[in-house]
Amino acid sequence: MADRTDPPQAFGRAVEQEMGQLFEDLPLAEQERMVEAILFATAEPQTLRDLCARLPEGTDVGHALALLERRYQGRGVHLVQIGEAWAFRTAPDLGHLMSREAVDLRRLSRAAIETLAIVAYHQPVTRAEIEEIRGVSVSRGTLDLLMELDWIRLGRRRMTPGRPVTFVTTTGFLDHFGLESARDLPGVQELREAGLLDNRSAPGMPLSLEDDEDPDRPAQDPLFDPDDAV
């Protein structure tokens, strides 16, 4: 397009200007929608010069901006001038509608996502069972976080000695992960076939009892080191 300004173009421009007398300039409405699209899609407010550089020769950017500004008057979005540049902004009286936008996205810790995965696949599952599967202890905080996120909740108590509580996933969980039901989670075999599981080593290996990232790992793990037996 006409966004380069190297010397040969300057010559070209002169020619084009002459051509402009021969050919019709772009209709104003077309110029206006071009400016509209650019101001919508760019990440920074655009100066007149920025806009000119993007638009075809002969565009009357100032005029297009004036039309656009009038068009958006009283709308939910306004065309505003910020210093030398132009941008669309939410109408000041509607700012409150955007308040929900202010969210900090944080990645779930590895302990949390693994715990969640185990609950999802093995529900209803007790804390002891989660620990057995992960091979490391699960901190209360991890379960609390997952409950706070409304991804897991308490299920029925297990009818075994001690009547431990169980954990199950929630509708919020299905919602967040775009699942229709927990049954739709793929099995281990399917994970492997989808390439999600690196099968360099055979599955069904004994549980590894170490997780170096987990501070509250049970202290007895070295016990299971066969080399160590005296």
Binding site: F40, A41, R100, Q220, A229
Partner: protein, 280 residues
Amino acid sequence: MPEDFADGWEARRVADRQIAEALVVDVAGFEGPLDLLLTLARHQKLDLRRISILDLAEQYLAFVSAAQDLRIELAADYLVMAAWLAWLKSRLLLPPDPEADGPTGKELAAHLAFQLERLEAMRTAGAQLMGRNRLGRDVFARGMPEALVLRRTVRYNASLLDLLRAYARVRTHEEYRPLDVRRDPVLTMEAALTRLRSLIGGSVDWTLLEAFLPEGWRIDPKRRRSAVAATFAAMLELVRAGEAEIDQEAIFAPLMLRACRAGSGDRTAGGNAAYQSADG
């Protein structure tokens, strides 16, 4: 079989071979036998509905045999397809056996034609999809999404893929483990005690303290120091509980430990007891 058919057959064979040989060089470019068949079919007719499955089978077989002549190794599924096509060919050429059950040659041929047409349809569809106006190339979203900060909430994010991977990791236990173990170089006394308790039963003879150090805590000086200290404290604890006895010949001499045998009363066993050299 009519003779002119046989002649035509020969002539076609030559042409087929030429096509096949041209394709052989490029065998790696095919994504499986069906893809190869589709390519052969396209050479035959532009309209897939009008191809002759018999000719196609013949071309495929010629291709496979040419590849074998050139000692090009074909994946097993190409050979499976070749065997099946050879069988299909015989079914198409022989008069139908009224006794035989299962699909007729014609039905099988029709299904193969359907498969080819379907694969081509999907290929075309894929190309059409890719050629559409695409977000980020032809069509753009708002470049300056506004986030008016009025209320800041923390949202934890995890995708289904993260979840599946986490589960896969848990189930296969083959997480990437760095060589340098980033665990705190401190062995807790509780850990040492638990360990010692379970091992002490086996130590009827005097055993060096160092032999009780856990694997991974014996080399690195920092870790070793912590392990020795914890194990020593655990030893004292066991002695206090009357579960073990401890001995040292002299100050700074090696510390030795053995299980306390009920009724032995040999609490002050001399330093001369032969000890195992069980240093790790």
